[in-house]
Amino acid sequence: MSRGGSGAGGRPRRLPAFALVAVLSWLVGYPLLITLLEALGIPGGGTLQHWAEFVRRPDEWLALWRSLWISLASVVLAAAIGVPLAFIFERTDFPGRRLLGALVALPVALPPLVGVIAFLFLYGESGFVTRGLQALLGLHEAPWRLHGAGAILLVHAYSMYVYFYLFVRAGLARLDASMSEAAQILGAGRGRTFWRVTVPLLGPALGGAALLAFMTSLASFSAPYIFGGGFRVMTTQIVASKLNGQVAMAQVETVTLAVLALAGLWALLRFDRGRIAVVGGVRGLAPARRRLASRWARWGAGAAGWGLALVLLLPHLTLVVISFVPRATWTVELVPPAWDLSNYRELLTTPERLRPVLNSLWMAAAATAAAVALGLATARASLAHRGRLGRLLEMLVAVPWAVPGTVFAISLATAFSVDAPLAGRFVLVGTPWILPLAYLVRSLPLTGRGALAGLRQLDRSLEEAAASLGAGRWRTLVRVTVPMLRPALAAAASLAFITAMGDFVTSIVLYTYDTRPISIEILSSLRLQDTGIAAVYGVLLMVLSAAAFLLWGREERAG
């Protein structure tokens, strides 16, 4: 244990680590705990009355059931898109493969709300595809309405296939080519090689992607909120209860969802351990990308790759197109009759339009800066104190990743609407500080894990070399550690920043008019039929996300 911390000299000091545990517990664990206590009515002597009501009400069970089956179905649909896509892009070669291969991973970094409105513009009642079909078939009404479970599943599948795509691609790239060759020479045909060797070896990748998709889907809020209507899942049910003033019921629902999510995290962590054991046994070379022998096969793979990528990227393109359509010019036509930059101009020149952008910018920047500092400190402390203290720190930064945003929003609203400084509670709800705080908590897993990964790769002897040359702890940190970690931190920070910029799920619970972020403004623009403005905000988030994601991707590859 002392080896880990001896880099910059001496035994690791425990006091800073305990201080970190205290700060993280206050930020991450305490609001959840208070919510749990209030749901149990603890301050008032304790009661299970709200739980009894929760259990009695059929719509609560319905929401729970819907959350579960929507999540399971999302996993299946996402796999159905992502797995074939991974095979096409990893195992075949066609013109444009590299560029498209990077592009189809983009939805993972896109704020969910942006994806949702992009879908609305494409497949909604007045969307491009819907209008096109209506005109083509000569229908009086739109051929479908984008709402309910179908719409939610569509959006989920569309954004969560990326997990399967990225995981399976990575799995395929790691797969030792001689594995399938060994199966073949032992007499296995293509089918047998695929089912008996390739699929089991991809098992960890498939399982990891499935769990991630499941948890993301469980926490999903934007799609059910925009498309759900009366079809409520747990996240929308919580927000509805809260908006209806049923605070206690919202807390009970929140605790239920949190328990589900933590069970998912537990499963994922267990799974992760198993995976390490399996992958540890694999050595060797990645298989060569198969150059498809027949011209037809190459054209087929190319067409499938381009076709799928186009379908998957179409919503983004739609968003860009809509952002150029001036207000109230597009009514019944198949394609917009007019194009100009008026929406962009309006955003830049109207203070009320620019305000949400500035709000989001400063709040996201402040939250990210704090999250990087806290994440780095936690990562260092957790590596210096292996064993229980280190694990506790690691867990504390990981929890907000697993807990749905809605849960955190309700918990923060519960914890920080009371003035009790001695109990660590302050009135932050309604002030400009609550949203940055929420963003900070939600960003911690990204920066903490990023710093941890960076530090693990860092050659400890570099810090030891600095120490041997007479540098103290602080000088070593500033002159050696941080510069070496900069790429990893920059990548994590950019992802954290864009997550905060695009946040909708916590914002909708905690915003005030003065601190309204971009996502809230997108929603109100949509309500006012200002689709062009909504699209401009969406494009802004999209461009930022793409930049952040590409930076992150470069870092991942370099690391």
Binding site: D176, S178, M179, E181, A182, A183, Q184, I185, L186, G187, A188, G189, R192, R196, V197, P200, L201, G203, A277, V278, V279, G280, G281, V282, R283, G284, L285
Partner: protein, 375 residues
């Protein structure tokens, strides 16, 4: 004993780069044939073509007279031991070994029996239920061998089967592996870049360079009667001297009119040469000896380096006529910096003459050659 596999004029290019330039080679029934060559010589591509993982551009692969070039790997019924073993990490040791038996329509008791038999063959009896990542590298290698042999393949292919093992383990494993192959009585094609390994296990060794077969034969033939300076260099320590082919199987080195600066030595020629032709003379360290300076029929030189290697000591001698040679002799034969004469050793490998134009490869020690060949 007949021919099992005939390789006829096999060619293969990758993106315009020729990797196999017309290789013809036979694998005899029951022999271990080693493909030896440096990195990029085409030996692995040749093995993978035999296995069916690479499709040759042209040429034939005849298994007992039948063309197999169009067969998928699964249909060739060969066994293969991969460089990194390629054990299936999700299957137990036993399931790995039985993988190739499962398509053979055997009853499960027969399969289990065969698995037991194969694991016993490689000295891993009772390892059926172990995970492949729990066993050592040497044991993994043996599981790979058992797995390849279990379906009773017609030919065993080994792709650098020892390169993934610790050096201290290699020599023992190589003996055990050879013994196992002998016990089963199977023909094997074994790829390596290590001359020691090739000579140790091969009944015959085929030396490849730049996609061509240079020479194939038993180890002693390659060592004593190489057909090219490349082969001579690749299969052992060698020195080369410019010389002129003389009368009655002699080669004249330097100017024999001056004592110590020239000599006429008995020699073999790799191919017929007329007297008076310029040749390059291959000299093995054991084919030379140190004699007192200015002795009759010797070349004068200075010991530049002396390397003690146990039974024998190697002397690097810079000859007065220019080039240097390596001589094996007793530990007391000379000291570093001393003046010596160099003469042929009777009964040792005879100096061997190659017609000029076949330039010898650059002078370097065997160790370096092997390191460079490390893939």
């Amino acid at each position: 004993m007949g021919t099992l596999l005939s390789i006829r004029e096999l060619t293969k290019s990758f993106g315009g780069q020729v990797v196999l330039a017309g290789v013809s080679l036979d694998v005899e029934e029951g022999e271990i044939l080693v493909l030896l060559g440096p990195s990029g010589s085409g030996k692995t591509t040749l093995l993978r073509s035999i296995a069916g993982f690479e499709r040759p551009d042209s040429g034939d692969l005849l298994l007992e007279g039948e063309e197999i070039a169009d067969l998928a790997p699964a249909q060739r019924k060969f066994g293969m031991v991969f460089q990194h073993f390629a054990l299936f990490p999700h299957l137990s040791v036993g399931r790995n070994v039985s993988f190739g038996l499962e398509t053979r329509g055997l009853r499960s008791e027969e399969r289990d029996e065969r698995v037991r038999e194969m694991l016993a063959l490689v000295d891993l009896a009772g390892f059926e239920d172990r995970r492949v990542d729990e066993i050592s590298g040497g044991q993994q290698q043996r599981v790979a061998v058992a797995r390849a042999l279990a379906p009773r393949p017609r030919l065993l292919l080994l792709d650098e089967p020892l390169s993934n093992l610790d050096p201290e383990l290699r020599e023992r494993t190589r003996r055990e592996l050879k013994a196992a192959i002998r016990r089963v009585g199977i023909s094997a094609v074994w790829v390596t870049h290590e001359q020691q390994e090739a000579f140790d296990v091969g009944d015959r060794v085929a030396v490849l360079s730049a996609g061509r077969l240079d020479q194939v034969g038993p180890p002693e033939e390659l060592y004593l009667r190489p057909t090219s300076p490349f082969v001579a260099r690749f299969v052992g320590r060698a020195s080369f001297l410019p010389a002129v082919w003389g009368e009655a199987s002699t080669a004249v080195v330097g100017d024999e009119r001056f004592i110590g600066c020239g000599a006429s030595w008995p020699a073999d020629a790799a191919e017929a040469v007329d007297s008076g032709t310029a040749v390059t003379l291959l000299l093995r360290p054991e084919g030379l000896r140190l004699v007192p300076p200015e002795s009759d029929g010797s070349l004068q030189g200075t010991v530049a380096e002396r390397r003690y290697a146990g039974e024998i000591t190697y002397y690097r001698v810079v000859l007065d006529v220019g080039p240097e040679v390596v001589v094996a002799d007793a530990v007391t034969a000379a000291t570093e910096g001393g003046k010596v004469g160099v003469a042929p050793r009777l009964g040792g490998p005879k100096p061997r003459a190659f017609r000029d134009g076949e330039r010898p490869p650059p002078q370097e020690g065997l160790a370096e050659v092997v390191e460079e060949a490390d893939e």
